[in-house]
Symmetry: C2
Subunit: 209 residues, 2 copies
């Protein structure tokens, strides 16, 4: 009877991805205390030393986890918007409907999740002092703002000019979105997700004035 192998070798790429996913899980579950090589390696089911074999140091692992985390979020939102754009049906699926889809996606699972905020807070906390996180942030967070800005320019093209510069409109809408999302995650009892969506809808409608 052949003895079972004690572990399975994997391609560096796969293993790195597994470690990144485990890192995100740990940050969502335990916040800042989850950002330790021992918790992460345990969550990934590997030994402690493997992290430093596949990543130069812990900061780089966390930075790549931030890239993946932000990428998944933006991809999910973009997918929801595209689905709305390509949807067939009676209703017209113009820029305004796409924005509504964006709002709905922002304020439903898996985005509206307290654990997600827990991870975000860890990344925000690292932003000031970790160059690796800063590098990823500059490249990744722009994608979110571009998505919002693109939808707003489309809206302005179809429904007439706003009462304020498009850049400012994007700033204001992302602030309202992030602020509502933050408030709800910090204290879900204050208001319901549908109310947050309604506030966003109202804000967009007030642009043409």
């Amino acid at each position: 009877m052949a003895k079972a192998p004690r572990f399975e070798r994997q391609l560096p790429e796969e293993r790195r991805h597994a470690l990144i996913v485990a890192t995100i899980d740990c940050l969502k579950a335990h916040g800042h205390e989850g950002m330790s090589v021992r918790r992460i390696s345990a969550a990934a089911g590997v030994s402690i030393g493997l992290i430093n074999h596949h990543f130069p140091n812990k900061d780089e692992l966390v930075a790549q986890a931030y890239r993946h985390f932000n990428g998944e979020l933006v991809a999910g939102l973009r997918r929801a918007v595209d689905n709305e754009r390509l949807r067939s049906g009676a209703a017209r699926n113009g820029p305004r409907q796409q924005l509504s889809a964006f709002f709905r996606e922002s304020f439903t699972a898996p985005n509206l999740d307290r654990d997600v905020l827990t991870a975000w807070i860890v990344f925000w906390g690292l932003l000031r002092h970790s160059p690796a996180i800063q590098r990823v942030h500059n490249e990744a967070y722009g994608g979110y703002l571009d998505l919002v800005k693109h939808m707003l320019t489309d809206l302005e093209k179809h429904h007439g000019p706003f009462g304020l510069p498009c850049h400012l409109a994007a700033v204001g809408l992302t602030a309202l979105l992030d602020g509502l999302w933050l408030e709800w995650c910090l204290d879900p009892g204050t208001f319901r997700p549908e109310e947050a969506i309604a506030l966003c809808e109202r804000w967009v409608d007030a642009l043409h004035a």
Copy 2:
């Protein structure tokens, strides 16, 4: 020649306050890494053990630092609003002008400060898992929301009804304020503080529609 005393005894109340202030300084300067008894005691100019003499444990010290931190913020904002209310001059100082003063105060020093966000992020990060922080949060953060809600009810009384429930208006305004403030602190290059104020003013003006 009498030798100088090696240290100065202080009343527990004074020492506790000094330690709380040192804690806030450390959190603003170093984020989560500043939340260590060694850094805090060094910043306060005392030995390590003194913290556990005046506080049952570190969590309690941080929680009281949170209370003081939030209290100072709310007090500063309230003071700015009251100054506007009691100001003599040609312009009428009704609820609308008080809101403007509130916005100006929110988006100028010492409130609009990246270091302040650094401290906030630490507190947010503790909120999920530290009962001590939760206790303070429930009692302290309500003061901020009450302030906003009170100004909005005053405004509604003087300038006619809003197009949405007052509770929702307060939720939306605090979200917009916090979101703008968060965005600016994370990346001050995206927009100028005056633009944030303008967005808030515009949001309030759009309430009567």
